[in-house]
Amino acid sequence: MSTSSQMLKGLLDGSLLALIAKGETYGYEIIHKLQDHHFPIISEGSIYPVLMRLQKKNYVSTTTRKSPSGPKRKYYHITQEGKEELENFHAQWKALSQGVTSLLEGGDH
């Protein structure tokens, strides 16, 4: 696995949590929203293992309803635990991205 896809894999959990926190959504819509944010994903299917993981950790809950086009559709919403985890992720990301940016763009000291 390339360095960039390793990196993405680590960030996808928190990023999907952030997206779900913006409002109830489902699989294919998540892909569209990620694209709207120019978020680079490896493959569209890669969100599903992450969604399963988030659900198992109780960060998101789901409801299944009929979609306008017919088949059942699983909608994801964030839980209280998910909100707390998202805050953690946000803080960690801030620190990490500042550090990495400073390393990459900073001077030689």
């Binding site: 569209e44 399963m52 299944t64």
Partner: protein
Amino acid sequence: MLSNQSEQFIVELRMYLMSKGKRDKDIDEIVDQLTDHLHQAEKEGKSVAHITGDSPKTYMQRLGQEMDFDKKQTILLVPQTILLMMAFFSFTPAVAGTFSLSILGLISYVVMGIIGIVIYGVIVVKVLPKLFHSKWFYGILIGAFIIVTGTFVVIMFIEEGMNSEPFFVASPLQNNLIAVACIAIFIATALYIKAWFPVLIALFLSIAPLGQRFVPEHINKDPFWITVTIVISVLISIGVAVFLMIKWKKKKTA
């Protein structure tokens, strides 16, 4: 309607997750989600590779890793398989109207059942998932079926040669009931794994014994009808082969 590739991916995913002992409910949920996703993705002109990435097999494994192993269901799989094997073994004689049981026959059923489950078990869980995208997939499945069935036929002949006394001979009504029960098991299995091959195999198995039971003897021995039957079977075989070839080509070019 999903494209052939998407359809195949969904079927393979289901078989893979089932062979790994994942919970039915979880399998249904992820399969439903991916089917919905593929529907919409195809409307926008995307292919399966957009969803699975370069390796569908790796993708299936990653999905599997996130799902829990269901012990209870895996244990239930064994009696289910035994039931299916028994149905396959009993179906042909029941349709032919010659179902009977002898001690020796019963023992060979049990032995064959165990051997069959071990062979199929190893193939389904260990071999097939590695060959999902190989042309060997169906070849190996059919090969295993022929070996298991072939061994059973040999045992049946040995048993017949030893002339063991049956302790149960089915009446015509009982034969029909057994056949109906077998058909019910085939349909239930087909619905459960959401693939039609158990019913297709059963149909295939029932042709010869149906003829044996219902075609009057003088026609059965008449060279004219034998010729007609051979010609028709050859034509049907060619038809099926051509149909499969066209389907295969379509899949390759699509």
